[in-house]
Symmetry: C2
Subunit: 115 residues, 2 copies
């Protein structure tokens, strides 16, 4: 059923021409913690806007990936913003459970050092 959801012409026009996969940052809407970076194609963005559930494009599996569909660690989308040149997205989300498949709350848990 979700296959029928398409991105509106209005939103498509805001995206940078020629870009098929858009990096999407998921940020905890309450704490401000950056949780993960994944990618969206037009269809996954359309589904996310339509359903309010963060849905990405899995580059490794080459398929739509509703975050938490198997783990239960879903992301309820609070807001979505596009950057100034139309090629990056910022999602503020309510994260259920851990964002990272390792069980960590955030995927950014490998420090390369404090400056």
């Amino acid at each position: 059923m979700t296959m029928a959801i398409e991105l509106s012409a209005q939103v498509s026009a805001l995206l940078k021409a020629g870009v098929e996969l858009i990096p999407a940052i998921a940020q905890d809407a309450q704490t401000g913690e950056v949780l993960m970076l994944a990618y969206m194609n037009y269809q996954s963005l359309a589904i996310t806007l339509e359903t309010g559930r963060a849905t990405y494009w899995s580059r490794s599996r080459n398929e739509l990936w509703e975050k938490g569909a198997t783990s239960g660690h879903t992301q309820k989308v609070i807001s979505i913003a596009l950057d100034c040149d139309g090629d990056a997205l910022l999602l503020k989300v309510e994260q259920t459970g851990a964002a990272c498949h390792t069980g960590d709350h955030t995927c950014f848990h490998t420090s390369l050092g404090d400056q």
Copy 2:
């Protein structure tokens, strides 16, 4: 002189094999606001780690880009973290002035709607 700075073997080993351009999220270290997303190659990451000044790879100009080198809107790096699969970076920074070339504090100023 910066041409001589190379990424350490230790850090290189943490990065996902075969990835040349790594998306790097800049987040305001104090407020938690996500400011921008840009890209780093190995050299710009090495320079950033060495100097503490956020330095990216400009995909449009095909050159190293020290953020703020012309605008004065520099980013002092407080910490850098890599994500779980080694293909995205999160920089916490002290942003001088606006992060966005439009004069906005953040590049993510085009709302696609609240859910």
